[in-house]
Symmetry: C2
Subunit: 200 residues, 2 copies
DNA sequence: GGTAAGTCGAACAGGCTTGTACGAGTTATG
DNA sequence: CATAACTCGTACAAGCCTGTTCGACTTACC
């Protein structure tokens, strides 16, 4: 089992195989929560035993695929300049995040079923922190409301992004207007509120 | 197979069995997307063959359980008086919906995997329409923004409710403050916006 | 060009599911 | 109380999935 040696020692075609498998896994799992290993292998144009030669188990494959997916997303998001006006930065962050989430589809849900919860939360720390930091900065500058925890505001946005992506996948909504709609609703929700509460 | 006769002809204990099975199915499927028939039967304190005596297949059971769940929810929601001030009515609707969604848990996701999409959308028409009508009324009265479709505003609320319920289930959030948080964020998002757009 | 690395298909074992069948026991109901 | 309805356990067939083994074939790399 030479696959256990360091990655650099892998032959070029082997490396190419794992990439094909990873891409196929993301593609298949995004469409079907519990795609079987044989389905993924077929989509990758690879034998099932070859797949098992590179990944210890289905769970290991899902984890690697999720990590690969989030890694690609992180590359996109890290290229963004979020130091400008908070509202505008949030808009850009929403636009980019929308693309990523819409593409990844149900891949995350697939992972949620197989991987331990802590592992997923761990892999998601990056994107979540990026949004939260932007919110905190906006709160400090008075651009966003500060009567609610930044973590909650961030999670609400995450839910809307994820849910709307699911709607689009099921054909209940068109993808074009989605990011603009999400941005408008989010900016309104994040806006500073009048200090007086209308509830005693 | 006397179960195929009209419901009134069922013996009392048989009727009791189907209720136990239905409750157990809702309970199990809310915690585990793909709970097996044997798991549900055990939770209901009933033999597997007895379950198959009342339901034709696993799919039939899931459908019946979802219908039963939404029926119970509809009873709760239909008791609400939503004719008052839109914002206050929305608050009450959110509170009640939150309880229902938090209880039902992942049951819906389970159904989403087994039942044809049209069937689910059909069963969900009731709650969705109730929220949408309230939003439309609020828009007409000037209490809610009308620059976005009511259906979108409703779906966004639905996503936040569902996602936050999932967070609570996974322990990432406490259930107590959740409905108040959701209400605040939703009311802010629904509030009428200044006519001038800050984007050319 | 030789060798190790990689791939392939077929096949097996083990497990879990669904759905059905049978026979015997229990209980509600008239 | 007698009967039909109901329930139960066990067992079976069929299918799918995972993970592993084997031998043979192809291909990259030194």
């Amino acid at each position: 089992m030479p696959r256990s040696t360091r990655p650099g020692a892998r032959r070029a075609d082997a490396q190419h195989s794992v990439e094909k498998i990873l891409d196929a896994a993301i593609d298949c799992l995004s469409r079907n929560h519990d795609a079987s290993v044989v389905q993924i292998a077929q989509a990758a144009g690879v034998g099932r035993v070859t797949l098992y030669g590179h990944f210890p188990s289905r769970e290991g494959l899902v984890e690697a695929a999720l990590a690969h997916l989030l890694e690609r997303g992180e590359e996109v998001l890290s290229g963004l300049d979020l130091t400008g006006e908070p509202a505008q930065s949030l808009r850009e962050l929403i636009d980019s995040s929308w693309l990523l989430i819409a593409q990844s589809g149900a891949m995350l849900e697939a992972a949620q079923k197989v991987l331990p919860p802590g592992r997923i939360h761990e892999l998601h720390a990056g994107p979540e922190q990026r949004v939260r930091e932007l919110i905190v900065r906006g709160q400090a500058q008075g651009a966003f409301r500060d009567d609610l925890p930044a973590a909650w505001l961030a999670s609400a946005l995450h839910h809307v992004l994820k849910g709307t992506a699911a709607d689009v996948r099921s054909g209940a909504m068109t993808a074009e207007q989605a990011p603009e709609f999400i941005a408008q609703i989010t900016l309104a929700a994040y806006a500073p509120q009048p200090s007086c509460s209308n509830r005693p």
